[in-house]
Symmetry: C2
Subunit: 162 residues, 2 copies
Amino acid sequence: MFSTTTEYALRSVVLLAMRRGTPQTAQQIAAETKVPIDYLFKVLQSLSRAGLVQAQRGKNGGFSLLNDPADISIYDVVQAVDPIKRIAKCPLGIKEHGVRLCSLHRKLDDAVRHIEEAFSSTKLADLIDDSSPIRPLCAGDVIAPTKVKLLSTGRDLHAKPI
Amino acid sequence: MFSTTTEYALRSVVLLAMRRGTPQTAQQIAAETKVPIDYLFKVLQSLSRAGLVQAQRGKNGGFSLLNDPADISIYDVVQAVDPIKRIAKCPLGIKEHGVRLCSLHRKLDDAVRHIEEAFSSTKLADLIDDSSPIRPLCAGDVIAPTKVKLLSTGRDLHAKPI
DNA sequence: ATATAACTGGACATCTTTGTCTAGTTATCC
DNA sequence: GGATAACTAGACAAAGATGTCCAGTTATAT
């Protein structure tokens, strides 16, 4: 129903909203969102071009939200990476009816419109302020300790024992 | 938002609903729905395997609906060719939370559920009984009159004039 | 029975989405 | 100002969706 890319983008911005104030490196985001890091870069670049996130290079760099989580909607994120398209005119290309839709396409477009509305009215702040004990991304405690730990101990696998 | 295959399937069953009683050949369906005929066969095969349409071979054959248009929903058609999948559990694969969803995925799943409901409650009969002057497929008057007329008058092009 | 209309099935081609790799460039810290 | 952390960009690979082709099989009409 929604693309993988959309799912990845949403996970990322939700994480950035939860960590507002501290730039998150792609490494960190990838670990917590379980998004393949090389693909994540592309998703973040789309978000960056759309003006939703900011990238900072070099040490202590990373990605951060440009606006307040209360001002960023799910819709904004979706449109940045994989835009929802309304059905504006008859897909069969009949000119005669102008922009009026037949019952089938009107019904389909209604469904799309409802999604649009639901996504527009939900802000990132709504997601992270949620009272549920189940936090978005369900992360922090469970994910990616192994790989990160390996990297951080930094032992070269080919190094001779001393 | 919805796949091309879904769109094609819906166009086809709506046509079959409008022509209920007379099997429609793939030729006819392709002409009126503007679906590439070779691909249409595959879509119709999916609908056939799902028990929505029936295929009849040989002369005077074609495809027809198996059930009453009042008993076939948009949802039935969609599920037959490109199923809508609800989010049943955390896509990040966290076991700890069982089937409870975090706020993000609950929101996304709500959207999917609404689509499901809207599509389930809309029957093919609703689409063709619509009072709007704009008929589904916008067809009949504009599309494919030439080819259909040629076929339906049935004159053999090679027949000698009497 | 034979010709013909029509669907079936599988192979193949193309395009888009998703994912991976590698060689850059920029910023920070010491 | 050099080392290193981090993002950027573009090429490439794999998989899935879409579209095309063709050699079958089945049913009907005559």
